[in-house]
Protein backbone atom coordinates (compact mmCIF):
# COMPACT_ATOMS: atom_id res chain seq x y z
CA UNK A 1 0.00 0.00 0.00
CA UNK A 2 1.22 3.42 -0.91
CA UNK A 3 -0.31 6.63 0.41
CA UNK A 4 -1.01 9.23 -2.27
CA UNK A 5 -1.68 12.82 -1.16
CA UNK A 6 -2.94 15.67 -3.31
CA UNK A 7 -2.84 19.44 -2.92
CA UNK A 8 -4.37 22.61 -4.39
CA UNK A 9 -5.99 22.15 -7.81
CA UNK A 10 -4.71 18.58 -8.11
CA UNK A 11 -6.68 17.78 -4.94
CA UNK A 12 -9.76 19.67 -6.17
CA UNK A 13 -9.84 17.95 -9.56
CA UNK A 14 -9.22 14.44 -8.22
CA UNK A 15 -11.78 15.15 -5.54
CA UNK A 16 -9.90 13.75 -2.54
CA UNK A 17 -7.08 14.80 -0.25
CA UNK A 18 -5.47 11.36 -0.02
CA UNK A 19 -5.89 7.66 -0.70
CA UNK A 20 -4.12 4.36 -0.09
CA UNK A 21 -3.42 2.44 -3.29
CA UNK A 22 -1.76 -0.83 -4.21
CA UNK A 23 0.36 0.04 -7.20
CA UNK A 24 0.91 -2.60 -9.92
CA UNK A 25 4.47 -3.81 -10.32
CA UNK A 26 4.84 -2.20 -13.77
CA UNK A 27 4.46 1.30 -12.23
CA UNK A 28 8.16 1.84 -11.59
CA UNK A 29 8.75 5.60 -11.85
CA UNK A 30 6.94 8.81 -11.03
CA UNK A 31 6.22 9.22 -14.72
CA UNK A 32 4.64 5.74 -14.87
CA UNK A 33 2.53 6.63 -11.84
CA UNK A 34 1.17 9.80 -13.45
CA UNK A 35 0.22 7.88 -16.62
CA UNK A 36 -1.40 5.08 -14.64
CA UNK A 37 -3.41 7.45 -12.40
CA UNK A 38 -4.62 9.47 -15.37
CA UNK A 39 -6.54 6.41 -16.62
CA UNK A 40 -8.42 6.00 -13.31
CA UNK A 41 -11.27 8.42 -14.06
CA UNK A 42 -12.32 11.86 -15.23
CA UNK A 43 -11.07 13.64 -12.11
CA UNK A 44 -7.60 12.13 -12.48
CA UNK A 45 -7.64 12.87 -16.20
CA UNK A 46 -8.51 16.52 -15.49
CA UNK A 47 -5.84 16.85 -12.79
CA UNK A 48 -3.03 15.14 -14.68
CA UNK A 49 -3.69 16.06 -18.30
CA UNK A 50 -0.41 18.03 -18.44
CA UNK A 51 1.98 15.79 -16.49
CA UNK A 52 4.83 18.29 -16.85
CA UNK A 53 2.87 20.75 -14.70
CA UNK A 54 2.75 18.28 -11.81
CA UNK A 55 5.34 18.44 -9.03
CA UNK A 56 5.98 15.28 -7.03
CA UNK A 57 7.42 14.55 -3.60
CA UNK A 58 8.30 11.09 -2.28
CA UNK A 59 8.41 10.75 1.50
CA UNK A 60 8.20 14.56 1.70
CA UNK A 61 11.18 15.31 -0.56
CA UNK A 62 11.03 16.79 -4.05
CA UNK A 63 11.80 14.30 -6.85
CA UNK A 64 11.77 14.52 -10.61
CA UNK A 65 9.59 12.40 -12.87
CA UNK A 66 12.31 9.84 -13.60
CA UNK A 67 12.58 8.91 -9.91
CA UNK A 68 11.86 5.27 -9.00
CA UNK A 69 8.98 4.85 -6.57
CA UNK A 70 9.89 1.48 -5.05
CA UNK A 71 9.75 1.75 -1.26
CA UNK A 72 7.80 5.02 -1.25
CA UNK A 73 5.49 5.27 1.78
CA UNK A 74 3.94 8.60 0.76
CA UNK A 75 3.80 10.18 -2.67
CA UNK A 76 2.44 13.72 -3.04
CA UNK A 77 1.22 15.29 -6.27
CA UNK A 78 0.73 19.05 -6.50
CA UNK A 79 1.00 22.09 -8.78
CA UNK A 80 4.04 24.40 -8.85
CA UNK A 81 4.33 26.05 -5.43
CA UNK A 82 3.29 29.62 -4.71
CA UNK A 83 4.40 30.23 -1.13
CA UNK A 84 6.48 33.05 0.22
Amino acid sequence: MTKLVYFAWVRERIGKTEEEIVLPAEVATVSDLLDWLKARGDGYEAALQYPKAIRVAINQEHVDHREKIAGAREIALFPPMTGG
Binding site: F7, A8, A57, M81, G83, G84
Partner: protein, 157 residues
Protein backbone atom coordinates in the same frame (compact mmCIF):
# COMPACT_ATOMS: atom_id res chain seq x y z
CA UNK B 1 30.16 28.07 7.85
CA UNK B 2 27.87 28.90 10.78
CA UNK B 3 29.03 27.24 13.99
CA UNK B 4 26.29 25.75 16.18
CA UNK B 5 23.40 27.60 14.57
CA UNK B 6 20.08 25.82 14.86
CA UNK B 7 17.55 27.53 12.61
CA UNK B 8 14.06 28.14 13.96
CA UNK B 9 11.33 27.11 11.50
CA UNK B 10 7.64 27.56 12.26
CA UNK B 11 4.53 26.87 10.17
CA UNK B 12 1.59 28.51 11.89
CA UNK B 13 -1.85 30.07 11.42
CA UNK B 14 -1.16 32.95 13.84
CA UNK B 15 0.56 36.19 12.98
CA UNK B 16 4.19 36.74 14.03
CA UNK B 17 5.94 39.52 15.94
CA UNK B 18 8.94 40.89 14.02
CA UNK B 19 10.42 42.69 17.04
CA UNK B 20 10.26 39.55 19.19
CA UNK B 21 11.93 37.47 16.47
CA UNK B 22 14.71 40.02 15.96
CA UNK B 23 15.25 40.18 19.75
CA UNK B 24 15.51 36.39 19.93
CA UNK B 25 18.50 36.47 17.54
CA UNK B 26 20.25 39.53 18.99
CA UNK B 27 19.29 40.08 22.63
CA UNK B 28 21.91 39.39 25.27
CA UNK B 29 24.68 38.68 22.79
CA UNK B 30 27.28 41.01 21.37
CA UNK B 31 28.65 39.04 18.42
CA UNK B 32 25.77 39.99 16.11
CA UNK B 33 26.56 42.96 13.89
CA UNK B 34 23.70 42.75 11.42
CA UNK B 35 20.11 41.55 11.44
CA UNK B 36 18.03 41.48 8.26
CA UNK B 37 14.30 40.78 8.24
CA UNK B 38 12.07 40.14 5.28
CA UNK B 39 8.29 40.27 5.74
CA UNK B 40 6.02 39.22 2.92
CA UNK B 41 2.50 40.67 3.09
CA UNK B 42 -0.76 40.00 1.30
CA UNK B 43 -1.51 42.69 -1.30
CA UNK B 44 -5.05 43.60 -2.30
CA UNK B 45 -4.47 43.68 -6.08
CA UNK B 46 -6.16 47.08 -6.52
CA UNK B 47 -9.07 46.12 -4.30
CA UNK B 48 -10.02 42.97 -6.23
CA UNK B 49 -8.79 40.58 -3.52
CA UNK B 50 -10.76 39.81 -0.35
CA UNK B 51 -8.32 37.23 1.03
CA UNK B 52 -5.78 34.56 0.17
CA UNK B 53 -6.29 31.00 1.37
CA UNK B 54 -2.92 29.37 1.95
CA UNK B 55 -2.90 25.59 1.68
CA UNK B 56 0.22 23.65 2.68
CA UNK B 57 1.65 20.16 3.01
CA UNK B 58 2.25 20.12 6.77
CA UNK B 59 5.15 17.74 7.37
CA UNK B 60 6.93 18.56 4.14
CA UNK B 61 6.59 22.36 4.49
CA UNK B 62 8.43 22.20 7.81
CA UNK B 63 11.01 19.73 6.44
CA UNK B 64 11.65 21.68 3.24
CA UNK B 65 12.10 25.05 4.96
CA UNK B 66 14.44 23.33 7.43
CA UNK B 67 16.50 21.93 4.53
CA UNK B 68 16.75 25.38 2.92
CA UNK B 69 17.63 26.96 6.27
CA UNK B 70 20.38 24.38 6.83
CA UNK B 71 21.74 25.15 3.36
CA UNK B 72 21.79 28.88 4.21
CA UNK B 73 23.69 28.32 7.46
CA UNK B 74 26.18 26.17 5.52
CA UNK B 75 26.74 28.85 2.85
CA UNK B 76 26.89 32.01 5.00
CA UNK B 77 28.47 32.72 8.40
CA UNK B 78 25.22 33.29 10.26
CA UNK B 79 24.76 33.61 14.02
CA UNK B 80 21.02 32.92 13.77
CA UNK B 81 18.18 32.24 11.33
CA UNK B 82 14.41 32.18 11.72
CA UNK B 83 11.77 31.42 9.10
CA UNK B 84 8.02 31.56 9.78
CA UNK B 85 5.33 30.82 7.19
CA UNK B 86 1.64 31.28 7.89
CA UNK B 87 -1.21 29.17 6.48
CA UNK B 88 -4.99 29.59 6.35
CA UNK B 89 -6.95 32.68 5.38
CA UNK B 90 -4.88 35.87 5.13
CA UNK B 91 -6.36 39.27 4.29
CA UNK B 92 -4.74 42.15 2.38
CA UNK B 93 -2.26 44.00 4.56
CA UNK B 94 -1.61 40.96 6.76
CA UNK B 95 1.70 39.12 7.09
CA UNK B 96 2.37 35.88 5.19
CA UNK B 97 6.03 35.07 5.74
CA UNK B 98 8.98 36.24 7.85
CA UNK B 99 12.67 35.51 7.44
CA UNK B 100 15.23 36.82 9.94
CA UNK B 101 18.97 36.37 9.47
CA UNK B 102 21.69 37.49 11.88
CA UNK B 103 25.42 37.63 11.27
CA UNK B 104 28.59 39.51 12.15
CA UNK B 105 28.64 40.66 8.53
CA UNK B 106 25.96 42.66 6.79
CA UNK B 107 26.39 41.09 3.36
CA UNK B 108 25.98 37.56 4.76
CA UNK B 109 22.73 38.58 6.48
CA UNK B 110 21.38 40.22 3.29
CA UNK B 111 22.33 37.37 0.97
CA UNK B 112 21.06 34.60 3.24
CA UNK B 113 17.66 36.33 3.65
CA UNK B 114 17.40 36.88 -0.11
CA UNK B 115 18.36 33.24 -0.79
CA UNK B 116 15.79 31.95 1.70
CA UNK B 117 13.00 33.99 0.16
CA UNK B 118 13.81 32.82 -3.37
CA UNK B 119 13.68 29.18 -2.27
CA UNK B 120 10.58 29.66 -0.12
CA UNK B 121 8.78 30.93 -3.23
CA UNK B 122 9.65 28.04 -5.48
CA UNK B 123 10.35 24.96 -3.33
CA UNK B 124 8.23 25.05 -0.21
CA UNK B 125 4.84 23.28 -0.56
CA UNK B 126 2.40 26.17 -0.13
CA UNK B 127 -0.31 27.17 -2.57
CA UNK B 128 -2.34 30.37 -2.64
CA UNK B 129 -5.99 30.51 -3.63
CA UNK B 130 -7.69 33.84 -4.20
CA UNK B 131 -11.03 34.88 -2.76
CA UNK B 132 -12.28 37.94 -4.65
CA UNK B 133 -13.98 40.99 -3.24
CA UNK B 134 -17.00 40.37 -5.50
CA UNK B 135 -17.59 37.02 -3.77
CA UNK B 136 -16.29 34.86 -6.60
CA UNK B 137 -13.49 32.36 -6.28
CA UNK B 138 -10.45 33.80 -7.96
CA UNK B 139 -8.74 30.47 -8.47
CA UNK B 140 -5.23 29.33 -7.67
CA UNK B 141 -2.37 31.78 -7.99
CA UNK B 142 -0.06 30.67 -10.78
CA UNK B 143 3.63 30.12 -10.14
CA UNK B 144 5.88 32.62 -11.89
CA UNK B 145 8.77 31.57 -14.07
CA UNK B 146 10.58 34.57 -12.57
CA UNK B 147 10.45 32.89 -9.14
CA UNK B 148 12.06 29.73 -10.49
CA UNK B 149 14.72 31.81 -12.20
CA UNK B 150 15.34 33.71 -8.96
CA UNK B 151 15.96 30.46 -7.11
CA UNK B 152 18.23 29.12 -9.87
CA UNK B 153 20.61 32.08 -9.59
CA UNK B 154 21.89 30.61 -6.28
CA UNK B 155 22.76 27.29 -7.91
CA UNK B 156 26.42 26.39 -7.63
CA UNK B 157 26.51 24.07 -10.68
Amino acid sequence: MSAHVVPTVRIQAEDFDIAAEVARLSKGRADVGAVVTFSGLCRDEQGALAALELEHYPGMAQAEISRIAAEATARWPLTGLTAIHRFGKIRPGENIVLVVTASSHRQAAFEAANFLMDYLKSRVPFWKKEHRSDGSEGGWVEAKDADDAAARRWSKD
